[in-house]
């Protein structure tokens, strides 16, 4: 198996939207999946040093997910503030 694929499959893609995107100063980052088992693990890693005025929503692979939801290498995890569409 080529090394590139292997490396890709070891990472978790993390997305931020709206005010969280601005607060993190970043749309998207890749996290090493080592030691990550749940959404809460991802959040602990990325949010350290930040404080949040709003509640934060989360999804795994483009579906709403609880903090306890499992996360594995190759997954897409997103964090965003309460939605305001319509």
């Amino acid at each position: 198996m080529p090394q590139a694929d292997n490396e890709h499959s070891m990472s978790i893609k993390v997305l931020y939207f709206a005010s969280l995107r601005e607060q993190f100063g970043c749309n998207e980052q890749q996290l090493d999946s080592a030691g990550i088992h749940t959404v809460a693990d991802v959040w602990r890693l990325v949010s350290s040093g930040h404080t949040f005025k709003q509640s934060v929503l989360h999804s795994v692979n483009q579906q709403y997910a609880e903090l306890e939801a499992p996360v594995k290498a190759g997954d897409e995890v997103a964090f965003f503030p309460p939605v305001t569409g319509g």
Partner: protein
């Protein structure tokens, strides 16, 4: 049909066009619609433009789930849902929901359900560019939360 649009649209013409190609003339007795439009005032400030952000991929999936759920709960002939994204000006339509059914109860309740579900859970975020009373400078703010519709 579910569409996310980056350019301005005419909701009423969209209904007319969609209804024509639905090809179910004589079957539907009821069409309930909702059009949400950008206002030029919010929280006491004059709003000049609005930026509508979304989550490509998840937003479409969420709207699809909403419409499927409506079709499971009510007897619907068809549903049209259009949501605008990108930069909007006051009085531009933001969202259109139209539901067709044989009898009115289904169309009314499905249209309301889709709008409430969209407002409370579909991944869209609004950022307003506004001017405070007696101020010159433009400011930006993300809207904090949609009000509950019920």
């Amino acid at each position: 049909m579910i569409t996310i649009l980056k350019a301005a649209f005419d909701p009423w013409q969209s209904i007319v066009d969609y209804q024509q190609q639905m090809n179910r003339d004589g079957e539907y007795g009821a069409c309930a619609t909702f059009v949400g439009t950008m206002r030029d005032f919010n929280e006491g400030d004059q709003v000049n433009t609005m930026l509508l952000e979304y989550y490509p991929g998840m937003t479409e999936k969420y709207l699809e789930k909403t419409v499927v759920s409506a079709k499971q709960q009510w007897q619907l002939l068809d549903v049209l849902l259009i949501h605008r994204v990108g930069e909007l000006l006051p009085n531009e339509p933001i969202v259109l929901v139209a539901a067709w059914s044989a009898h009115r109860k289904d169309a009314f309740e499905a249209c309301r359900f889709i709008m409430e579900d969209l407002k409370s859970k579909a991944p869209f975020w609004k950022k307003e560019c506004f001017v405070e009373p007696d101020q010159q400078a433009q400011k930006n703010r993300w809207l904090a939360k949609n009000t509950s519709g019920y």
